[in-house]
Symmetry: D2
Subunit: 295 residues, 4 copies
Amino acid sequence: MSTHFKTIALIARQNRPELTETLETLTTYLQSENYDLLVETHTAKLIPHLKLKTVAYEELGKDTDLIIVIGGDGSLLYAAKSALKYNTPIIGVNRGTLGFLTDINPEEAIEKIGEILAGKYQEERRLVLEAVIHDGHGKIVSQALALNDVVLLPSKDSARMIQFDVKINKEFVCSQRSDGLIVATPTGSTAYALSGGGPILSPEIDAITLVPMFPHTLTMRPIVVSANSKVKITISNNLETKPRVSCDGETPLVIPADGHIHINKSQYTLRLLHPQDYDYYHTLRTKLHWGTALC
Amino acid sequence: MSTHFKTIALIARQNRPELTETLETLTTYLQSENYDLLVETHTAKLIPHLKLKTVAYEELGKDTDLIIVIGGDGSLLYAAKSALKYNTPIIGVNRGTLGFLTDINPEEAIEKIGEILAGKYQEERRLVLEAVIHDGHGKIVSQALALNDVVLLPSKDSARMIQFDVKINKEFVCSQRSDGLIVATPTGSTAYALSGGGPILSPEIDAITLVPMFPHTLTMRPIVVSANSKVKITISNNLETKPRVSCDGETPLVIPADGHIHINKSQYTLRLLHPQDYDYYHTLRTKLHWGTALC
Amino acid sequence: MSTHFKTIALIARQNRPELTETLETLTTYLQSENYDLLVETHTAKLIPHLKLKTVAYEELGKDTDLIIVIGGDGSLLYAAKSALKYNTPIIGVNRGTLGFLTDINPEEAIEKIGEILAGKYQEERRLVLEAVIHDGHGKIVSQALALNDVVLLPSKDSARMIQFDVKINKEFVCSQRSDGLIVATPTGSTAYALSGGGPILSPEIDAITLVPMFPHTLTMRPIVVSANSKVKITISNNLETKPRVSCDGETPLVIPADGHIHINKSQYTLRLLHPQDYDYYHTLRTKLHWGTALC
Amino acid sequence: MSTHFKTIALIARQNRPELTETLETLTTYLQSENYDLLVETHTAKLIPHLKLKTVAYEELGKDTDLIIVIGGDGSLLYAAKSALKYNTPIIGVNRGTLGFLTDINPEEAIEKIGEILAGKYQEERRLVLEAVIHDGHGKIVSQALALNDVVLLPSKDSARMIQFDVKINKEFVCSQRSDGLIVATPTGSTAYALSGGGPILSPEIDAITLVPMFPHTLTMRPIVVSANSKVKITISNNLETKPRVSCDGETPLVIPADGHIHINKSQYTLRLLHPQDYDYYHTLRTKLHWGTALC
């Protein structure tokens, strides 16, 4: 058993045979190695024949030295949200196509996780955003964390198109008429923001990108600013729309009439562990098929 | 006279009447205020009727407290190259359309420069890149500084298209077949790189962007990496081309067969002075016409 | 009075002083010239002090030789929808910023409309699309015409992202995961599709463009196909979403589970009249600010 | 032997073992089937042990019923240029990665070519452009045909950036400062123009696209116009540059000072034969990897 990690939590979000197989393999391995293993409550139901200590999703990172996620990037983001406040590191075993975040292949899961548990790993801290929604009186009505992106969206009933002002550190940046705005972390820069024409931000830079969505002004381009920027978005109320804000693609939060949103760097960071041979650009090349040219 | 600035150098690169007028106004003002004024040798010929102490372009920043440029962004870059090694601050009086760097309007030149000389200004440091070209034996054959961008271009005799490898901090990033690559500073991100689809980098971030030019692989996208990155570009010699490297649009340097280029942050920085009411986003909005929507 | 046009209908959609002024000027002019003038019912309420014959919106083009719209491109599209089935030509007097379709400036309205009524004009026919929504049994549930674009949108309750198949003339084109798809006419190519990265289609070409919205596959690009293409979009029902279709930004129509959409060229065309000096590229240059370069 | 095709020409441009193998297989097959086989002079040297009738490249299509190309799209374009004036149809057997034009796989070459020779094929006509360069006196100095694209390029000695005016059918379209302009056929829309952000033009539309290269005006976008457009590009001579024009990536032709270029549809068309199961969108999906999504 490792001296680095004693208590380990396991979570798998989806019920698919190949995923359950990896889950079972890892459970057996970690138990045989005498780790104190906690399996997330819903995950435990996927392997009912094994004797397991369970842990609720909300406490996944509490008193835990490491969280192992089996699944895709979406599952890792889901688990990570619970782990942030406990500052617990997380690793992902990929099931499906290669993920940007879940970088351990299932066939080498035992080997790679064994190495990590033995202290042979790279640790990376990814920045996290916080979106705080205020009403017209400045009162906070809701807030959420985002590992990938905070996305401003039109009202669900209205047609596309919102009008809003963006300020950074109290300086006016622009008024914009568009379908919305993506504010993405380096982690999120290879997700939704990339589909929208945003740049790839290498994870080591302390910056975020603002990517306008279908802007009516053709010269609006993606901007990269310091991650310490205080971004404030104010909705122009004359359009009588109630736009929404979605963090990491989750159920959108409604912005009240005359309301505004603050987007800042969170006090939390995501602690990602990688195998020692992890290489960010290798993942990029593989995921973006950089080997295949037009001619 | 200011206690901040005693010796001031003046430079104007182009011979246009409205420019000469501003040059004369500023010369008279600075002489009347008893500053120790040095006028760049070629600039002095534009106002031959005035009695002037001159200074060679190469020594523009030597023993000088401030350089004032009259012209466009191109003239400021030209003057700045001389000033970098002396660490002399620089300001620009714009003549023509509003520049990104030359932010003082000629009609308020006396007033704004008066304020700056009285110590009321914002100082900004912009990062500078250094391109070093090696031959196949690793010997340095040429090098240059870039305030905007280092651009890899095809051979002047060949058709478009070069093939090269990019490494960052010795990690392999990608092999690319394209018309070239733009490596731009935040300052250069609103110049050539923007035409090529690159993101706008706010000047406060310590990052550079790599923008592929007409890549054969459609998933090649602009990347933003730390300004401390050691970028190495190796030309695939099987194409028998001799690509070139141009810094800030200057006459390209030829890369020898089997050669490679290193692009790093320079030890120098550009010291830009701005009036106290300078606002980066105001300049962006004005230059990029962010007020004018499609409908 | 013209021998070309005897009965003329007038419509203005918005209640703004400068618009009402133009409306009144044109009404007085056309009455004094003895045209048989019909004013749309709601429009007539803007000038209650004038004695007017009115016509319902639905019959705007019926037994009418010409429709004159005062307003922006949105108002012209609105009026045109009523006129299509009657094949009545339409002209627009612009009120606001220059429109792509409403190309007569109000200050020269009398002069230009006088010339058009005297037979001095250019006539242009713009193609119209028809979107027909079918349920899972192939039954038509709704249909609509589009002068600009047919836009496939996500369900109003779901997060972004739809999955669908596109066929053209029964040939499979692609499966797509994206935020939606814009199918635009040449007229619509300078509207929403342009914000989404689509090409500008010159009005004389008999073609439409399919512009993917935030596609998950980075190599999905805008495609231009014959306007005679029979486009069929089938929603992948495993996502349990009910996407919607919006024509020209109007209230979206819901696509039933297992439903599909056919998009074809309509039997109707939009008959646009222009002054004799009309120049499509002049409008493009003005609207897209082609005169203003970065540097 | 087919009654459709009696005399068949064979050409392969590159000397690679797998290519020579296919060449030998096809030669033997066609000889055994008693076709009148002509092998292009240089191609014949690749299989010196076979007894062959040869034909010069320039007469490849003369008195020939069909040209078979073994190689990539570049080889097919090369052969096609010779065939255009003789109106001889052409087919391509692909050697390397799948081509857009060379759509027969070598392992099924005998079978597919057998079917085509038996009259089972699809014939497609692709439009061809003609670039004519005039000097300042209007005299023609050079001209060339283009199956893919006519590309306006900077002078080989100058820095990037040219300034020019574009007219279509004598109407002024725009003044442009950029790195150049791509004028592409539907065939060329999936080649260089696609790297430059141009749209994909389905081969059946009678249109061409103008794609600006790194335009200084950010609102310059790709335009699609009728293939019957008479495009005229005039170089602004105040820049003292001698830009160049390259057709299909061939050695550029120099444009004299004060010169201009006319680009029109050629009187020739490219006659492409495809197997009966040829499917344009299948090729697009395969070449552009439309199956592989970000996540």
